[in-house]
Symmetry: C3
Subunit: 279 residues, 3 copies
């Protein structure tokens, strides 16, 4: 196991065909090097409703099925990566749909956080709450500089980031900074995010962010993919184990939260404020 041997293990690239598929709310495009780009395109702000989550989930399956070596996650919006969970799935919800909504979110996170393929986020806009969750589920983050912010700001809305949101965040941000950020609902500027390790690089624009993601993916050119995948999954097992052990309880907690009149009142106030702003 001497390091000088590394060069001898040149990776044979499997033959991969470029492909492109277009769904309603996402598009998936893979180049001939096996790097797929999944673009979220649910205007105006890529709010994660059930339909968008289901499309993301299917796209992740397609990446696996096609044995793409890497996935880059980005947004079609010029200002928002993803605004997080769609509040309309939580306000006066149909409980059956709400349950499906939450289990789909769990699935998307598990697929992304434990993926065998390499994952990177080209964060080309704001990434609050669920948007930050998607970004921290990847293995690398390049964020476009500007006035964009990123963070788990759930408390600011009167709600609570689940344990696995926290686990995903803490896989990246040191514990001390994570606790303050989560309790204060902190949204990090790009510079702050870089300093604390919440993002890995700053990009000038979306294209540059995607190129930086490709640079990260290139680091694995000589690394056998199976060893890489198992290493990632073992490393992240502590974080995923909690959800695997508590999926039903986690759904029950979410549904209980939706049944709480105070929460519904907070959501109503919030929706009113959005309408006010829209005028």
């Amino acid at each position: 196991m001497i390091r000088h041997g590394i060069r001898s293990l040149k990776q044979v690239a499997p033959s991969i065909r470029a492909m492109s598929s277009q769904a309603n709310l996402t598009s998936l495009n893979a180049d001939n090097e096996g790097i797929a780009v999944l673009t979220l395109q649910r205007p105006p702000v890529n709010s994660l409703n059930l339909d968008l989550l289901q499309e993301i989930s299917k796209s992740l399956d397609e990446v696996s099925k096609n044995k793409f070596r890497a996935l880059i996650l980005t947004s079609a919006s010029p200002t928002v990566f993803s605004a997080g969970l769609d509040i309309m799935e939580m306000y006066k919800p149909d409980m059956k749909r709400a349950e499906l909504f939450w289990t789909t979110l769990q699935e998307v996170w598990l697929k992304l956080f434990e993926s065998s393929y390499i994952t990177a986020a080209a964060i080309n806009g704001h990434a609050p709450a669920g948007g930050c969750l998607l970004a921290t589920s990847c293995e690398y983050r390049a964020m476009v500089s500007g006035k964009f912010t990123i963070g788990l700001n759930e408390t600011a809305l009167g709600i609570v980031a689940p344990t696995w949101f926290m686990g995903s965040f803490c896989n990246t941000v040191p514990s001390r900074q994570a606790e303050i950020a989560l309790t204060t609902g902190k949204m990090f500027t790009v510079d702050e995010a870089l300093k604390v390790g919440l993002i890995d690089d700053v990009a000038t624009d979306k294209e540059d962010a995607i190129n930086k993601c490709k640079g990260f993916i290139k680091k694995f050119d000589r690394i056998p993919p199976l060893a890489r995948a198992v290493t990632k999954q073992k490393f992240r097992a502590n974080t995923t184990q909690w959800l695997k052990d508590n999926r039903k309880a986690d759904v029950a907690e979410f549904l209980g939260f939706l049944n709480n009149p105070k929460i519904q009142q907070s959501l109503e106030m919030y929706i009113q404020s959005l309408k006010q702003k829209a005028k």
Copy 2:
């Protein structure tokens, strides 16, 4: 869940009356903004004996009962925040009292570490061992500059910080630095503590430390308190779970340690050295 919505959730402050209560060894004063200051005042060095711990425990209950939004912990001594556990509770102890002593300490820590209200420590003097435990149980620490030191220095006295002391410390200090500090019994200067994250800010004096604590508390002005509290408790659940699962074993370990002749001998040597110094 877009960030622009944060401003709309302006927090309605519940009507809170200022209050002041004075016990033997502590005083509790709350202003009309719901910020309580708990002052330890057991001369000369706020050693945590059973009586002081019981008063702290009652004060924490009072903070909860009165729905104060925040607690600032500080000391009446000009040089010592708290010298830690009172060695006289451990030297040739009555075992029934020793058991009550330890369970009270467990309770104080759980109440403080998992409190719903905001907690901050204005560390206006030395904070070794149990003094450091109290400080790290809070969510924020401002320490007065000068020759004061802080740390879990149990090994230097021949004893061992329990697992939950370590958990409290590691919630704040990175693992690598924590291991060296705990095994060497390191007492950090104010500058060292700031650098490693054991404290968050340096203050010029006690008043400034309390003001800095109030500045931290102010960060939560717009954060709904329930979401904040549950987020904190979820974040800290890993650390508290151990004690909840092992309370009896933890008491038994402490009592076993008191029954160890070598430990009693160390404590006797230590007490002699204190008497020598007092002359």
Copy 3:
């Protein structure tokens, strides 16, 4: 528990005789202060085969039996600390020997990682994979500057660092940096290793590295050894518990991996490349 008492607990050094023992593949030398130096000397690169691991295991027992207060681990090679696991124990293995090989490695790690005595590594050469494991099992690392590198580069060889290798690494390196290093199979230069905390100090040569180790050991001169040992073991319990709970499954995973034709093929390619290089 006031800090001023520390000085009173001057440690009475037990009477220790200097000793020296020489086995085939290691030598163990203790000075009259109870500091033992274990030198790995299996040319050319201290590959950890069954015989070397068994000798290390016996040496660790001897350190315990003789109640030495500290162990410094170093290498007789001028360029390699240890090249890691001997690939010949894994290529077309006798399965009974392979099982003994792996359980011996588990034992060595547990003995070293949980030792009562103080441990330090004087890393005087490359320390990839298993070499890095030995180094991170110690409590302190001084590495000789130069072109040497250190890291868990298993993925680069198409294999996977077990959970406890990762735990040992993460006891030292922050989570974010650890994940990238482990998945990319990163070998750190001395400067990079220092920056990320993978090593604690840079030394000019082997002698200087050993002196720096002695400087670290000196920090414990006034710390009662039992309190120190129990504190270390409690602190590391999270990391060791996994292996204690999963020893058989961990062996089974290793043997299953040896039975995988793809792995055998990777190993064969690697051995060919080494032979090529040797010419």
